[in-house]
Symmetry: D3
Subunit: 229 residues, 6 copies
């Protein structure tokens, strides 16, 4: 794998980063990169028909365990603010400024975004603002131009009304799928059995398909927005 | 026609359901389906340069006549709330929750949405939220997974800045175009003469073109988002 | 209407020019433009299940009547060569050279092509080669750069497996639809009754829809490939 | 499942029908539909670096076993003709006529095509010609208008240079994945182990992902070109 | 150049009109058209990391100099309102009504919009609302149907996550690039040196590429939304 | 720049490799990579209106000078075969086999293709076959899976009838634009002055725009088909 010193992952909710790039995070951590995850909205009562209520503290505890397991540090932008599925109500400039601050301070060489092809308003709001923050202003103008910007995908993304952008960057995670699935299980409040679109079986199936595209057992794939050769 | 027990039609304003699928509604009703139309915004003073003001009560009376003519029951989500052309100001979660409640309560086997390719902000807000509400969560997780989800089209939709999604599902409405046009005339406050994009001539012309695509006199066409074979 | 001195219409078969731009041809002729139609393949035995055989001479006689009615001159590139639905078997360079010769000799200010979004191999071969011939090489390099290049549409074109390019140029043909339909009837060998995709009713219906898009009774619409302001 | 009396599957090579819709074929057969598979090219020496040569007779024997297992009848259009990966050299009209003859004779209510989004020239030639053959000419004009036309997908299809069309029709094959995999194994000459894009693991993984999209264990998904409601 | 009596340019911020169509404005003015620029948001403190604060009055003075140089009149919709990069927080109906009023009052024959393919939320909000305002309602219904609607492009627009719409209308600005660059320099507060995406070198480079597409030294290109022939 | 041991560039004609990636070739060579260019068709009489005839030997001499200047080795697949603009007449399998042989023998870690979005039939035939040759078959199956596959772009590519794929990989060629332009001049038979789409000014202008997208003076950009992280 190409070496990255610093990686910033933007995650709308706590578990998107695992679903989208848990294998890469495990591998980056093993290879010594500094990885920072920025969560947007983390709330106690998750949205849409959750059987068992979960407290904000319990959700943070889940994140702590995952962060430890995958070896990353993290920040929560909107914790316990009841903004779950309401990120579209924020002025976009607020989100752009938030992301821009993180970029200029952390100066990552890899920025990972959620896909913009999502039916979930929080994902769209996050992607759109982060994409704007990563716009191509050269470093000579005082802004950090991230050399590598990509979006991670998830097994749920086929529910779309437009053709999906192709994922063309691949990472072999054959040695890290176990860590990805373990991290997924740590998000017990979000975890669902098969045939859910977020089940371990779905996550593994996507890894098998992406792996076959590069001739390995398991892989993660990414949409490339910018990569400096 | 395939049989549908229960059909939910989501209609941003009162007349979209007729323009988009009035022929299907007449046919469904004739064949014994239960059809429910959920209107989003119905207001007294319609938007953009209406010559004669119309009261909220008059608009509801129009709906009543159309509902009787085409044989459906209905609900108005935001009646007399001055939300016409302002649905984009609602948090999307509010709309998603509204639609999800209807889906879980009515358990329709066919869900009809306005097209997401529209220049009208109410249509876009409605489609986007309803599409999110119809996301693929299996029934074993306590949510109603609608087996057939489609969007209806209108003669006005060519005013777009991106290629339009293809409509690939067709319904022969040769015996029901009259009912569709009659319903259109009941919406006297919205009715416009030729060469308006909402005139009877435009509506008929679209039905002729769609009919020719399946070798019948008149048809309606739909974009397919999900269909269980 | 903007004035065009010379117009070149490329028509895969004899009737495509009427279906696609018969109204414009009538109007151009009435306004004094020189219009030249270049037919690709004209054969005696038309393809796919024609009930009554028709001779090559009969087909040319049809063209003569239409040319007189709509006021254009014409050339047939491949007459009586049994190339109907076989234009894809020609090396593309042969077609590109053919079109380039016509462009350099006629020096049209408007070039009209069949749509490239067609399931018919002759239409695709024609469009693709003509589009290459119209590539942007400046006049200072000895090639005629056509200032206005557009594609005409037909009522049949919705049978596609990709979203269709939008038609954004419009011509009011309210005074010329009759001539278009009369020309269509002259192509007796190709003429079909409703509900055929090439019937007068289909052609009129498309004209109604396009008319409503610009607030007139009937219009033709075109995809814009290049237009010099 | 909706009932289909007669189904025509067009398969460029012997194994595409299993990879794309083996589960549906098993299910259709179990429910009494008549299924006919039309193979395009079957050759003794398969293309691209096959380790062990295989005779034409051996390939036909494989087909016989699969046809028996999944319960379909079949025809081979170009058997032992060395046209493997050379179908693009045929005039398209020849293929269109071939498909049209099958449609008019078999009069299927469901037509299944390979996807047109494929890097393989045989698949593209097959899809394009079959799509043209299925164009919307009404039955009153003496041609069989197929009511349901769809494309099947495969795990290999992500190798593309354009966004892929969405698959929106789904069939639950939870009870038929075993038969699909068994049929795949019968194609011993084509069978490859993991992590090949045609391995059983890849095929199963795609079925898991599609299944999750409709809340079942395994599914196949299809692109909808036309469906009559 | 085709003659336009009245042109309305909608510009999210003060300098977009120069970047996008400064050459055309110079040429239109020289040829006697009445040109009106409608700015959306003009604020004292410009967005994102401006080194030297600039007052609202200074920004208006810049506009005055540019308007004089390029020969247009102008209105500022939201001056000194701190709405820079916050236009997405306005109800879209407010913007649609604003644009519609301008269209009905000025009755332009050419309407120029910012591109809708932009990462900047103000550009998207502006385009989307203006596009809705320009929807095709015929003049017989009391609304001004603009005959020519186009979007201008900028050198920055490649930062996108979807393929960009093609620009197919071209204007030779070989004699007006100097005026365009001079106007750009008047916007001293927004001006940036090479290699900025808004530098004179970038602007000139785009003009060279567009010029080569029509065989002239410098050109501007536009996306066509509607053009009446 | 990421290090590449071996690079294979596929070039339809002699000059495409310079127009598309001359800067990268200069830089790769300077950094010690082995670069191999595979030309498809090189003929004595170039197509379309060349003023001065040029012999095959003269064209090879041009290539020799460019190869020396940019430091690559090369092969000509079809030299002096009069296949210029006739590559579409070859069975695609012949081209796929040709490319596959080169891939398996050279085992490049970077494969550079012409864009598939081109109006030139030779470019399309080359891209399509090379893309098929690079399909994702794992190395465990005896085929060389190229880790990085990209397409180079040219200033002429805007003449298209579909939106163009985005170029998202960038290489700073600020120190190598001179070498690129010098190589361009060596192709004296193909060289054209401004305002030609292949002039030095056009090539430089594209390099300026791509440079601004990553904050450097000059860059080349590439469409990413596959990249292993």
């Amino acid at each position: 794998m190409q070496t990255y010193d610093t990686v910033l992952v933007i995650s709308p909710h706590a578990d998107d980063e695992v679903l989208g790039c848990g294998g890469m995070l495990a591998r980056l951590s093993a290879e010594g990169s500094r990885v920072h995850v920025l969560y947007l909205s983390v709330d106690g009562m998750s949205h849409y028909g959750l059987a068992n209520p979960v407290t904000y503290e319990a959700r943070v505890a889940e994140i702590d365990r995952v962060a430890k397991l995958l070896g990353f540090e993290y920040t929560i932008a909107y914790g316990d603010r009841q903004l779950n599925e309401r990120l579209d109500t924020l002025p976009r400039r607020e989100l752009v400024d938030l992301f821009q601050d993180h970029l200029d301070r952390l100066r990552p060489d890899l920025l990972l975004l959620p896909s913009g092809d999502d039916y979930d308003q929080d994902h769209v709001a996050t992607f759109t603002a982060a994409f704007a923050a990563a716009r191509p202003i050269g470093r000579s103008f005082g802004k950090w131009l991230v050399p590598h910007v990509m979006s991670y995908e998830m097994s749920k993304l086929q529910w779309a009304n437009k053709p999906l952008a192709l994922c063309t960057a691949f990472l072999d995670i054959s040695d890290h799928l176990d860590a990805k699935l373990a991290a997924l299980r740590e998000y017990a409040s979000q975890h669902r059995p098969v045939p859910h679109i977020r089940s371990e079986e779905s996550v593994s199936a996507l890894a098998v398909l992406r792996g076959a595209e590069i001739g390995v057992r398991y892989a993660e794939a990414f949409e490339v927005h910018r990569t400096l050769l």
